[in-house]
């Protein structure tokens, strides 16, 4: 594929060069042109009409082919409750826009071919047509109204969720260039925090005088229980970062001076994800590539990335997140040290 593309580029460049040289010879005359010479000839229209038609259709074919070729790379099924909902909305929207795309693009390029200039033909004079215009104003309006309504309802459900039990409060803390997590502990309340309290072991600035903070647990790797609602709170130490966990369909900016939040429910454990057929296919593809480069094999894990430009190592701000069963989670919690213990 690669070599083919390179050859293609070189060949096209050569063609272009030859053209340039030829034109140089032809066009060295500076006589005023006859008026017709400046407009595309019958033959030009014919050839260009056909070329653009073929190019356009190639693009349409490429766009469909690429779905088969690269569709396997896109994110696997969501591992969060709300993600299932947004995925459904995404595919419905994709279907709609795909349909419009597949109608309008071929139509455009077919018009170019069908109506390419022919000597002696006269274009049809047509100023407007109220019926047609009403049609293509109202149809998109109706379709969009449906999409907007569906989207707004989904958005409302995500942003103002109703959970049957109280969500576990977890803070994600961003700084150049890494993440830390803070679990609210037994009281499920995060202690106050501010960068002004940062000192020594207190790396994310928990207020030592706030009793709520004593049972908080600060970690550099996070575990979450499956099926339990989680309320993430986000803080940033220096510049804006963005907490992005693609497999949860979750993203929220971390803004210095402000606390932002996002609530969700993970619905698949890491182990379950590793057994998912699509994930297995993706991982084995990735591992083939890694093996060829002599790198260690990779195993699926949820990962938190930074998705807002934040400086030189923005590309490498990661934190592993493990989703386990409730027992695994409780076990893990026991092994962690609380803020009070660490002081």
């Amino acid at each position: 594929m690669m070599t083919f593309l390179i050859i293609l580029v070189v060949a096209l460049a050569a063609v272009a060069l030859v053209q340039i040289v030829r034109i140089f010879e032809v066009s060295n005359t500076l006589t005023p042109a006859k008026e017709e010479d400046n407009r595309p000839s019958h033959k030009d229209n014919d050839i260009q009409g056909k070329i653009l038609f073929v190019l356009g259709m190639l693009f349409v074919v490429f766009s469909v082919w690429s779905i088969f070729k690269w569709g396997g790379y896109i994110l696997p099924v969501s591992a969060s409750e709300h993600g299932l909902e947004t995925d459904r909305l995404l595919w419905i929207t994709m279907a709609v826009i795909g349909f419009v795309f597949l109608i309008t693009q071929p139509l455009l390029f077919w018009f170019v071919y069908r109506f390419r200039g022919i000597k002696g033909r006269k274009a049809t004079y047509m100023e407007h047509n109220n019926k047609l215009e009403l049609l293509w104003t109202s149809v998109p309006t109706v379709v969009l109204a449906i999409i907007i309504t569906y989207g707004i309802i989904t958005w409302g459900n995500i942003m103002n969720p109703e959970f049957e039990e109280e969500p576990i409060v977890v803070e994600l803390y961003a700084k150049q260039f890494g993440w830390q997590a803070r679990i609210a502990g037994e009281d499920n309340v995060l202690g106050n925090a501010n960068v002004r309290f940062i000192e020594g072991i207190n790396s994310i600035g928990i207020d030592p005088n706030d009793l709520n903070g004593l049972d908080d647990i600060v970690t550099s790797e996070l575990m979450l229980p499956v099926g339990k609602p989680i309320l993430f709170k986000f803080r940033a130490q220096d510049v804006i970062h963005s907490a992005y966990i693609p497999h949860f369909r979750l993203q929220m900016n971390c803004v210095p001076g402000t606390v932002t939040q996002f609530a969700f429910t993970p619905n698949k454990t890491t182990a379950e994800m590793r057994r998912d057929p699509k994930v297995i296919r993706q991982i084995s593809g990735i591992n083939e590539i890694r093996e060829a480069k002599g790198e260690e094999p990779y195993e699926f894990d949820f990962v938190l990335l930074c998705n807002k430009i934040c400086g030189a190592a923005h590309y490498n701000m990661q934190m592993k997140i493990v989703v386990g069963t409730e027992e695994e989670y409780n076990q893990w919690l026991k092994e962690q040290t609380t803020f009070a213990e660490s002081l």
Partner: protein
């Protein structure tokens, strides 16, 4: 009438020196050319930068000696420095958005076409017009100079969000480089405002007899509305930049609060970077229409002329321009769905954003219908305009995903966004720019460009444009964030390497294709075949002026306008076009109602 003739004779009397004719020119045609050529140079720089960082993205482990050549100390044995990567992306984005597609596109064609197409001797104020260009020139020089400061140019993304852009301790580019960026943009804003005010006044006051607003060509409508957008939104960017300047230099806390950076706690409290985001995008969103509308205007003109048909639904086209312009002021929040702003605002902005799809759809369908049953003259300009219709549809459709707050959560700031905005704004506007250059080159330089080269340029550009940006949708849907120096830090992206290689190969092809254009442009500007007066058999007024530029545009009186600009293939007419200056014949129905 008499006073006009007199006015124009005055112009002929004063002698022009080289300096007043080519450098400190007050003639709108010359100023248009100055904008264009500066824009082309900036475009080359911006494109060159994108090629450098595409090398890095496709082959992150490969050493490219060429990087050492271009980047000096920012490249170590052919491997780019991460800070430099961000700097290149930032300056690339800034240059493309503001310098090429705002000044280079709108500046060129508003200047060239507004007086010519409405029948005016020049802009309302030639002096202000000249100032507008020179502010732009200075701003370009400063932006380019900023690349060479020791700590590197601004690198916080073209949106320069604070605190990153406010604190030199956060990244080297936020020192001197950012200061120069802000100074350059301030001059740029001044230039845009001077230009825009001039365009508005000229369109409102200097139309020739008979040129009612409803007879204006759609190009003029587009430039006019664009100018209004600019006047209303650029000052807001100015205020955002000013407050940022205060935060950087005078210790204020508009955008800063509770920050520890470089091992030090800053004293600032109470500010919010979100305020900056609101101010920035209040300009930022209208800005994408400031870029796009002139391209759409040019396309309307080129498609109608070369289809030999009236533009379909002239009034709907004007209506949709106005509608888009209005809506563009109340959608800025769609860039901020995941900033933590009140979810209710997310709902509102989703609603307004998706509303814009309606006038946009109307435009797309009207273009399609204009082509339908036409007799298409496939000039290079026409091909680029058709390309624009294609990219406008493709990119517009993915906007429906990004505008939907619930869906944006997962694709915000990923390559899906990069794909979307490059296609709908970058490609469409670049295609519009090329269409305009090919179409009005005879008017600018009195010579013709070489058509076969134009065809080769279009074909290669069209292929590489989609080749570069279409595959990026898949990267985004795979969760790949933008503004990443390399994708190798996360094994989950390892399988995307081949897509990245394909993109970069097409990018290089696209770069090569532009060489054809450059040759064609500069060769023909000096040695092209002489143009006839009306090479495309067009109706608009600019083609009634002599081929050789004269100050004041028309040697005699300014012609009077008797009809709209779109009487192509009108039944009963002898030819397939009837210029606007031709009076209605007996029993002829006026068109355009």
């Amino acid at each position: 009438m008499a006073s006009e003739v007199q006015h124009h004779e005055e112009h002929h009397h004063h002698e022009e020196t080289f300096l007043t004719k080519y450098v400190f020119s007050m003639d709108h045609k010359m100023i248009g050319k100055q904008f264009l050529i500066t824009g082309i140079i900036m475009g080359l720089i911006g494109m060159g930068m994108s090629l450098l960082f595409r090398l890095q993205l496709a082959w992150p482990d490969t050493s490219f000696p060429i990087l050492d050549t271009f980047l000096g100390k920012w490249s170590d044995n052919g491997i780019m420095d991460p800070n430099m990567y961000l700097a290149l992306v930032t300056i690339h984005g800034t240059i493309m958005v503001f310098f090429v597609l705002t000044a280079g596109l709108s500046g060129t064609f508003s200047n060239l076409l507004i007086p010519l197409q409405i029948g005016a001797r020049d802009m309302a104020s030639g002096f202000i017009n000249m100032l507008s260009y020179w502010f732009f020139f200075l701003s370009s020089v400063i932006m380019v100079a900023s690349i060479f400061v020791p700590d590197g140019p601004a690198a916080a993304g073209w949106t320069i969000y604070p605190p990153l852009s406010a604190l030199p301790a956060a990244m080297p580019g936020s020192g001197m480089g950012m200061t120069l960026w802000l100074v350059s943009m301030t001059l740029f804003i001044a230039s845009s405002l001077l230009g825009a005010l001039n365009y508005i006044v000229t369109v409102l006051n200097l139309r020739t007899k008979g040129m009612s607003m409803t007879r204006l060509p759609l190009t003029i409508w587009a430039f006019f509305v664009t100018a209004i957008l600019g006047v209303l939104s650029f000052p807001v960017l100015f205020s955002a930049a000013l407050l940022l300047l205060f935060d950087r230099s005078f210790g204020t806390s508009f955008y800063l609060s509770d920050i520890l950076v470089g091992g030090e706690v800053l004293s600032n409290t109470g500010g919010s970077p979100i305020l900056y985001e609101h101010l920035f995008w209040f300009l930022g969103h209208p800005e994408v229409y400031i870029i796009l509308l002139p391209a759409l205007g040019i396309t309307s003109e080129v498609i109608a002329t070369n289809s030999r048909k009236p533009i379909f639904g002239y009034r709907a086209m004007v209506g949709s321009i106005l509608m888009i312009a209005f809506l563009s002021f109340i959608v800025w929040g769609h860039h901020m769905f995941v900033t933590g702003m009140n979810p209710f605002l997310g709902t509102v902005f989703t609603f307004t954003t998706l509303l814009i799809a309606i006038p946009s759809a109307v435009k797309a369908f009207n273009y399609l219908t204009t082509l339908w049953k036409g007799n298409l003259q496939l000039t290079p300009a026409m091909l680029f305009s058709i390309g624009l219709v294609s990219t406008f549809i493709t990119g517009g459709l993915t906007g429906i995903i990004l505008g939907d707050s619930a869906l944006d959560i997962n694709v915000h700031d990923t390559y899906f966004v990069v794909a979307h905005f490059h296609i709908v704004m970058g490609l469409s506007a670049i295609f519009g720019l090329f269409a305009g250059v090919y179409h009005w080159f005879p008017k600018m330089f009195g010579r013709m460009m070489i058509r076969p080269l134009g065809y080769a340029h279009f074909i290669l550009t069209f292929i590489s444009a989609y080749g570069v940006f279409y595959p990026m949708h898949f990267l985004g849907l795979a969760g790949l964030p933008r503004r990443y120096y390399t994708n190798t830090a996360f094994p989950m992206f390892d399988n995307l390497a081949d897509i990245n290689v394909i993109i970069s190969v097409f990018a290089i092809l696209g770069g090569i294709a532009q060489v054809i254009f450059l040759f064609n442009f500069f060769y023909c500007a000096f040695r092209g075949k002489r143009a006839p007066q009306n090479p495309w058999r067009s109706n608009t007024l600019e083609w009634t002026t002599p081929v050789e530029h004269i100050h004041g545009n028309w040697p005699g009186a300014i012609p009077e306008v008797h009809r709209w600009a779109y009487d192509y293939s009108k039944p009963g007419a002898k030819e397939d076009f009837v210029p606007q200056i031709v009076p209605l014949s007996e029993n002829e129905e006026p068109s355009g109602h």
